[in-house]
Amino acid sequence: ASGLPAFATADAAQEAVMAFTGGVAPGEGGVTLTTPEIAENGGTVPVEVAAEGAAAILVLAAGNPSPGVATFHFGPLGVAMASTRIRLARTQDVIAVAKMSDGSFRQASNTVKVTIGGCGG
């Protein structure tokens, strides 16, 4: 129905990953993504990412109106971990892609079940 925001597809999330990695498919492992299994309120879902040796970490929500959530950058004094709170419109996969300091990419993803969506719908 018109009036409802169009949801991003898995393809849009994949495109966002490729834009971040420059077309390189990320490897598995090395990234810790901590999310709740079930989020009662999609408006504020705690998310923590950590990847030792990462220079930047991209967080995506594959089922939101647009997949981008946040990109963390770490300086030399920073520790490659961050925790924040995000909005999830519905049950979906949350994806974290880490850019390691050696130029390789690592990915992790978790499914979060959302009881009440958090994008005003």
Binding site: G3, E48, H73, L77, G78, M81
Partner: protein, 108 residues
């Protein structure tokens, strides 16, 4: 807009080389640009789009934010404290406003 107030929790003292945890919160509606008002008109997007933390001028932690970050954006991150210094925080709003805060960490 309602008053926007940054809040930061950081230790006042640390030992040299210690890894400390920093928590930040800023009150902000993070209007996503997806919502409609009662007349069906889209409420324009207005979010904090950039957050940066620097220690004595060197970048420690930065984040590019999209509308999917919750209202009142919260960040927790960690850093190594090499020496006494000033940890400065900056939040950039879509309307160009910049909100700042700073904390001094003393190495005894």
């Amino acid at each position: 807009m309602a008053s926007i107030k940054p809040r930061v929790k950081a230790p006042k003292t640390a030992s040299a080389g210690e890894v400390v945890s920093i928590k930040t919160l800023i009150s902000h509606p993070m209007e996503s640009g997806q919502r409609k008002d009662k007349d069906g008109a889209t409420i324009p997007r207005q979010i904090i789009n950039k957050f940066t933390a620097t220690f004595n001028g060197a970048m420690v932690f930065a984040c590019d934010l999209e509308p999917s970050v919750s209202a009142n954006p919260y960040f927790e991150f960690q850093m190594t404290v090499p020496e006494t210094g000033v940890l400065a925080f900056e939040w950039v709003d879509d309307d160009g406003s910049i909100y700042t805060d700073e904390k001094t960490i003393t190495v005894a």
